[in-house]
Symmetry: C2
Subunit: 136 residues, 2 copies
Amino acid sequence: MAVGFHILADLYGVDPQLLKYVRPLKHIFESSISQAGLTKITSHYHQFTPFGVSGTILIEESHVSFHTWPEYELITLDIYTCGDREMAEDAFERLIDALKPKRIETKRIERGVLVEVQEAVVESPSNSERSLGADR
Amino acid sequence: MAVGFHILADLYGVDPQLLKYVRPLKHIFESSISQAGLTKITSHYHQFTPFGVSGTILIEESHVSFHTWPEYELITLDIYTCGDREMAEDAFERLIDALKPKRIETKRIERGVLVEVQEAVVESPSNSERSLGADR
């Protein structure tokens, strides 16, 4: 069992006009997040000079963050959820639809993997009628 | 060449008293970040009920984020920098020193890898005196 699910994506070949300033990125990220059913707590965006943006969006389900390099037509983004994975994938699809990259590098990583203790079941006549371990 | 360097770490066996509330975590993260030479722009922490904390710290060099599960003695954290990798490693070491986990799972990932165009150098007398490609 993992407590978190983390999508890491680097999007190449994005229209640099979308990546320069806070306003379009704020709209794209916040609408994708809310339309996917995720719940924003707070968000912050930083405008670099002359262009380039970093953003962190704290959500009830964990966080979303991104950083842009308009000069390379590049944005890297992270979606981390401790909730429903489908919602994270939905938000990711909406971001892709809005940003329209030519190429995507994606990793999906389970975070905080908890080891479950499994009891061994020894097959022998003496314990054949006993119920050992968790149900499967 | 990669524009970003990302440390993902899941820390197990951390004292749950450290992981329940904002105050000690804010102190640990903000002091580790500043002592490592990274520059905070803004930070936000969310207190879950009855306990558990999420935090995002936007830094000039990109971001730091974390989520805690005191009931599992677990914190997962991310340090993402587009700057000096040594500073990111320094901040990470300081966080480990403060949180004292019994076990750590760490991944280090390059983000936004730019493909460099390399010119082929054909060995032949006709081009032996020409300088091709970038300096190494």
